[in-house]
Assembly symmetry: C2
Homo-oligomer: 405 residues x 2
């Protein structure tokens, strides 16, 4: 493994010498090699699926590729290549009192390691984001997608061939070896775990290398007394039901008591269309049919068609509930009241705070980043959806004319 | 300790509700309380010095305060208060394809813990930087400065008095308790160790909390064949001799062979004025008197009047030497050759890379930051001198109009 990591470390320096155009061309070449090898990749994926008889149907769906999905992945790569160049950007510049001219310049971080589960699209997305930002990268995917990933890597390697180096490595390693990987700060500058809570916890607790992660996505929608009903219904249903298994989906609605009856009786039949199981506070239970919500419910990221509803007496109560149970991921207010929105946006401490939009927009693609390395709930380095810019560091280059201190 | 940390965590939220002006006034009030209590603080400092008979004279000098130094510290605080406001700044903003308006806003990190050695100025500087950036802070100073620090904290607490909370705590704790502190990620968001290599290593190896640090300052001055002699002499002597104990001082001169004789014979008498002990390569030894430099020498941060000199055949050899031995802290080229400077600035991977200026400028004060939390050789979050901006995180606030995904 050390040999592979060292080769990536060296290749990263070569990659960083390429021009922006050359790096973009490399990403386009990977996309076209993937398209060329479509049949081979789909066959590998079919073999992975055949081996995965014990997976849930949701997991199988995540794992499964077809021509349309493959085209989608390639379009994503091309979109990453088409993003504006981040490396070398002068982020700031000024002349200090001494006369030296200080430029803060974006540079690559170095080598990124991503550890993820069965989604095969992650392999190429992270590889492309790393190439775009001139970082080396080391990938450890889930064993369920092993053959698919190896087929992807074959296409990727052939795209690197004309360059004489390869700054992306796929590690076909065991969990014990992952533990070893987490200690290799000599070769790796940042670790990104992408997957369930267990994976993220395992990585954070064992890593000697900085970890970019999100712990948990326990998101709320606060329906203020000044809500507009149609907007509130659209956003609430979108946030809960459009894709409940993802981290930016809502788990709890907080409803101002003065609109509780109106909102809850309107949202109830919509939730029932999706067979959402509702856990409500006593006031909710007086308006709609629901199970009784416990502390435990308010503290749970369901990732499923389950929902808590709590009627609150004021925005203060909503803010306090979010401060207590929120995971700092995505929070939204639905209100036509200017000051209520401003207060919510200002006081809620989360990576993305929304006024009158769905929490589902906390996403690299929706932010216009082409793709994302992941969503960060860290407070250091990068927060929220992390695209190529989150994969950069900076250095200061300083132009002097003989200045001394 | 948990009780203290929790009170800081709560107080930080109060601090963050203050306006920029109120936070600046608080810092000014601390400076004036320190000035008012000058006699008391100097008496405490004298008592610390009396207890510190086993310290080296350099360490005693670091510890010692007098009225002039105290005024300097207060002026530093006032300069921090006078810096532009960082909290709430819209760092970026754009409209996404969906129509949502995305604003990236600077916010405090939360609670910062600083662990440092005998320099008493650090206590107030870090407290002021934390207040400026609306962060809570927890300070653990060296036991040698204990009484001085307690006197500072008395002045600081009296400045907080009108507010009814205090977001700065000084921990009077043992090394075992420091170990406990490093595990308290529930209360602390970032740890800054400021001190020698042992302290930094102890903190990095034991912390469950992200650490902002610099490992080592092994800095080089490369004197190119196109150097201008007077600039080269000024910068080289400044970088080595103006304050050799600090991390941005130079440890090694790399001299292009075509100017070796000219530069070395001119720099030699200047170095001798400072009694600098020279370790040279065989080519250096042919030009000036020196001891023989080993691998070990090139790899040592002396922090003292000791210097390595190596004659190199080309800029390539200089770049390779820096890549091998440099610590990524501060590196400089002295050259009138445009392309040589550009290449050096671009290829050297360090927090600050200088053309024709002293490495000593890698400093928060010199950068115009008022003061610094420290100099970072991390590649994530912040690199180089870290001022108030390095103590901020960001969040996205998003204005929608009913958008869903």
């Amino acid at each position: 493994m050390k040999k592979i990591l060292n080769s990536v470390k060296i290749a990263q320096k070569e990659l960083a010498k390429l021009s922006a155009n050359e790096r973009n061309e490399l990403i386009f070449r990977i996309a076209s090699k993937v398209r060329e090898n479509c049949a081979k990749i789909l066959a590998a994926n079919a073999a992975d699926l055949a081996n995965a008889s014990d997976l849930s149907s949701a997991m199988k769906d995540r794992l499964k590729l077809d021509e349309a999905r493959l085209n989608g992945i390639c379009a994503g790569l091309e979109s990453i290549a088409g993003q504006k160049e981040v490396i070398g950007e002068i982020k700031k510049g000024w002349v200090a009192k001494s006369g030296i001219k200080i430029n803060q310049i974006a540079v690559p971080i170095g080598v990124i390691a991503a550890i993820y589960e069965a989604r095969p699209n992650v392999t190429l997305e992270i590889a492309a984001l790393a190439i775009k930002s001139a970082n080396g990268c080391v990938l450890k995917g889930g064993k369920e997608a092993r053959l698919t990933n190896l087929a992807f890597m074959e296409a990727l390697n052939s795209a690197f061939l004309p360059l004489g180096f390869c700054s992306v490595a796929f590690l076909d390693i065991s969990r014990d070896e992952v533990l070893e990987l987490l200690g290799m700060s000599e070769f790796i500058d940042m670790i990104v775990p992408r997957g369930g809570e267990n994976l993220v916890r395992f990585v954070s607790e064992n890593s000697r290398i900085p970890v970019l992660k999100h712990d948990k996505g326990l998101c709320h929608i606060y329906i203020d007394k000044a809500m507009e009903l149609q907007k509130a219904l659209n956003i609430a249903i979108n946030a809960k039901c459009s894709r409940p298994a993802v981290c930016n989906a809502a788990e709890t609605f907080l409803v101002h008591e003065s609109v509780a009856s109106k909102f809850l009786s309107a949202v109830y039949p919509l939730l029932k269309e999706y067979n959402v199981e509702i856990f409500g506070c006593p006031k909710t239970a007086k308006i709609i049919e629901c199970k009784s919500a416990s502390e435990q419910n308010y503290d749970t990221e369901y990732d499923d068609f389950k929902l808590n509803i709590k009627v609150v007496a004021s925005i203060d109560e909503a803010l306090a509930h979010i401060a207590r149970y929120g995971s700092g991921h995505s929070e939204a207010i639905i209100s036509e009241d200017y000051s209520a929105c401003q207060r919510f946006l200002s006081e809620v401490d989360a990576s993305c705070v929304f006024a009158n939009a769905s929490t589902r927009f906390n996403d690299g693609g929706e932010f216009g980043f082409g793709a994302e390395v992941g969503i960060s709930t860290n407070r250091l380095h990068a927060r929220g959806p992390v695209g190529v810019e989150g994969l950069t560091s900076y250095k200061y280059i300083i132009y002097g004319n003989g200045e001394v201190r």
